[in-house]
């Protein structure tokens, strides 16, 4: 077995400590607060924390397996996210074959391209080839009812659930001079992005008063947004040592991750409200579906990837 990067070990220990502290707090709240009207919220909090242990364990294990582990994990996440997305949106009988291509040809191919480090094709497979294939295949199927809306629904699903999400494990193919090409950059993105979600939730629960987008996402508040983005940026800055960035750049990058994450959460919420549902699925206890958890990542990963690639890859 190859020797573990000590910085990676520190990051893992940090996550472990964070989870332990969260569980302790969740447990104390459960013991201290006996008001019946808050019981449901407390149960949900503890379910969320429990699910975080499971998600952290799965993610850490796949990181330790190596690039193949992360590719398989994110490939599966893309399939599950796309499944939640297409289930929620209307489709017609004539979409069947096009959807089959999306799930079983384009999605595996996208991750395969990362695996063989073919950056040029990875970057255009979905925005160019799938973009043109989808409407063509639908036209061949011959049903013209709501044609453009059906075609764009599938294109949009592939872009968000597959293309955008695949940018996270694609970080593993970046070659940054003077920075060991391992899992730290992916871990950094996931940490800052997911902590930003959690911290926005926590600040919102603690201080939240002024709704930021009452129609789209009734639980999001200005207090949660500002508090969450600010603390996530602080954490991201404090973790500069595991990245190729100087502390000042790390601050800027993590601010951007948090803001893009917020944009993702808001956008994916708008779709849920339009379809009249609260969550995309029920796969993660306390959180909802995969897409409820990965919405921020879908928007943050591509921007983070291209920033790093533009400024740090020679």
């Amino acid at each position: 077995m190859k020797k573990l990067d000590p910085q990676l070990v520190w990051a893992f220990l940090g996550v472990l400590g964070l989870l332990a502290v969260s569980s302790l707090i969740g447990w104390m709240i459960k013991l201290a607060v006996k008001k019946p009207e808050t019981q449901a919220a407390i149960r949900n909090l503890n379910a969320r924390i429990g699910a975080w242990w499971v998600m952290s364990a799965i993610f850490s294990l796949t990181l330790l397996v190596g690039p193949v582990g992360s590719l398989v994990l994110f490939g599966i996440l893309s399939l599950l996210a796309l499944r939640e997305y297409v289930t929620l949106l209307p489709s017609r009988r004539a979409d069947h074959r096009t959807l089959f291509w999306s799930f079983f040809i384009f999605t595996p191919l996208q991750y395969l391209l990362i695996g063989i480090h073919w950056y040029g094709m990875f970057a255009i497979l979905i925005p160019v080839y799938a973009f043109l294939f989808v409407p063509t295949r639908l036209a061949i199927a011959g049903d013209t009812e709501s044609f453009l809306s059906r075609a764009s629904t599938i294109q949009w699903g592939l872009m968000v659930c597959v293309y955008c999400l695949s940018y996270a494990p694609a970080l593993l193919m970046l070659n940054i001079p003077g920075y060991a090409p391992d899992a730290k950059l992916l871990l950094y993105l996931v940490l800052v992005d997911q902590l930003s979600d959690v911290l926005q939730y926590v600040w919102g629960k603690l201080l939240g008063k002024h709704k930021i987008a009452p129609v789209v996402s009734p639980n999001k508040t200005w207090e949660g947004f500002i508090g969450g983005v600010a603390t996530a940026t602080l954490v991201g800055t404090a973790l500069w040592w595991m990245t190729p960035f100087r502390p000042r750049v790390a601050a800027l990058v993590s601010l951007l991750i948090a803001l893009m994450g917020f944009a993702g959460g808001l956008t994916m919420s708008a779709i849920k409200r339009d379809r009249g549902v609260k969550d995309y699925g029920t796969l993660i206890r306390g959180h909802g579906g995969i897409l409820d958890r990965m919405d921020s990542m879908c928007f943050a990963a591509p921007i983070f990837f291209h920033l790093v690639r533009y400024f740090y890859v020679r």
Binding site: R83, V86, T87, S91, H96, L99, F100, T282
Partner: protein, 211 residues
Amino acid sequence: MSARFLAGMLAAAARLISGVQVQWVDSVPDPRQAVYFANHSSHLDFVVLWASLPAEIRSVTRPVAAQDYWSTGLRHVLAVNVFRAVLVARHAGKTDTPQESADPRLAIEHMLAAMGNRESLILFPEGTRGTGDEVAAFKSGLYYLCQRKPGLRLVPAYLNNLNRILPKGEFLPVPFISRLTFGPPMTLEAGEDKADFLARARDAVCRLRDL
């Protein structure tokens, strides 16, 4: 490989592909003899319904399937050895019309023999697959079965989205998330008219649609 092991694997695969979310509304899983009846829109219907039953119920539950479709090659092996399907004849060539099968009495005898005293059945009273938008009128088999077996427990179920996963005429599935809702058991009441009973049974299925 034993049939039982294969059955477990197939049940797991069916649940994975269909992502089925199972709920029991005003009803609990019960291993006692019953007929599970549901709407029909996909070849996957009975596999998913069967796979969603708790293992101890699954082992005593047999689907009723059309002889003409399930009698060839691999399908036959699966139907007979793994699912232990009760194969019944449909009216040849007229499977898309609401006509009764060639000799309905023969099919009923066949089902009764297969049930014995403890086995349960999975039945699709529409007789043939629909598009998934509407539930067609029920054929009378369910009524005759209850007449011959007074007090037989009937458990209605609604299968959502299976027509999107594997619609009529397609052979490759698209993994939409499906939903299976079981409702409260019912029985044929003494002196109940055939048409009334069939309408009531169909209604019991339709009511589960949006739960």
